[in-house]
């Protein structure tokens, strides 16, 4: 691992993306509130975007930026729908705790 005075490499960006992904993962798996879980999902997506842009910049691939564009768009659509569902559930359950939404079981 290079020191603070070494050049920034692709590896740095990828490592940063990895850490961000792990933080997002922790949030998705461990938080009780559905809202926080959805925000952590956004973190996951952002980690992926970062990795995409970095690799595209270092390897000379402009197509990755197009991919990021699409990811952002789809993430927006997904958030809209997810929040709509959350609102619908909240009207019935009166809470955003995930534990109370475990009806689809055996």
């Amino acid at each position: 691992m290079s020191t603070m005075s070494g050049a920034i490499t692709l590896g740095h960006y990828l490592a940063l993306s990895g850490f961000l992904f792990i933080i997002g993962l922790a949030g998705v798996l461990l938080r009780r509130s559905l809202l926080i879980v959805m925000m952590s999902l956004e973190l996951l997506l952002n980690a992926a975007n970062l990795a995409l842009v970095a690799v595209g910049r270092f390897q000379g691939l402009p197509d990755t930026q197009v991919a990021v564009f699409f990811v952002i768009t789809v993430a927006a659509a997904e958030v809209a729908l997810g929040l709509a569902i959350l609102v619908a559930i909240f009207r019935i359950k009166k809470t955003t705790a995930i534990d109370s939404m475990a009806n689809l079981r055996f």
Binding site: L10, Q65, V66
Partner: protein, 168 residues
């Protein structure tokens, strides 16, 4: 120069992300997420993807997160209750952090391409809107159109989902 910007922005991003998953008040989490997204946009700029940085701020931080905050305010979500700090949870966190810190850099270093260094101005790709737009409308035109349809469907879906049942 590259190093200063990278390290500061990286630290900021990670801090904001950690804050999102740690704080109990959803509004605080949302605001921290906005901050994180802005840091991310700045990182895009260091990678010479300017247009994408703009898109990130406008769409992601500006629209998506605003939507989040709207919903939080609408539902008047309360702060989450404190949960007891058990020693097993602390141990798990420490363990997880250790694994991540030790494992990720090694994993990344195993790729030969990750030795390439960052020098501003030497990018073979341009991050300008014009070039990105050309790609979007020529090579990826079908996908672009499909994404448009996707957004339409999402809109309709949201409207349907949020209707109240008619009163009996």
């Amino acid at each position: 120069m590259e190093q200063i910007f990278f390290w500061s922005l990286a630290v900021g991003l990670l801090t904001a992300a950690s804050a999102v998953i740690v704080l109990r008040n959803p509004v605080s989490s949302a605001v921290c997420l906005v901050v994180g997204l802005v840091f991310q946009a700045a990182l895009f700029v260091t990678l010479e993807a300017n247009f994408l940085a703009a898109v990130q701020v406008i769409v992601y931080a500006g629209a998506v997160m605003v939507l989040f905050l709207f919903v939080i305010m609408l539902l008047d979500v309360k702060e989450e209750a404190r949960r007891p700090m058990v020693w097993s949870k602390v141990l798990g966190v420490i363990l997880g952090v250790a694994v991540a810190v030790l494992g990720v850099p090694r994993l990344v270093a195993s790729f030969p391409a990750s030795q390439k260094t960052l020098v501003w101005g030497e990018s073979k790709t341009s991050g300008a809107a014009q070039d990105l737009g050309t790609l979007l409308f020529t090579s990826y035109a079908p996908l672009f159109l499909v994404t448009g349809v996707l957004l339409l469907v999402a809109t309709i879906g949201v409207v349907v989902l949020c209707r109240r049942d008619p009163a009996p």
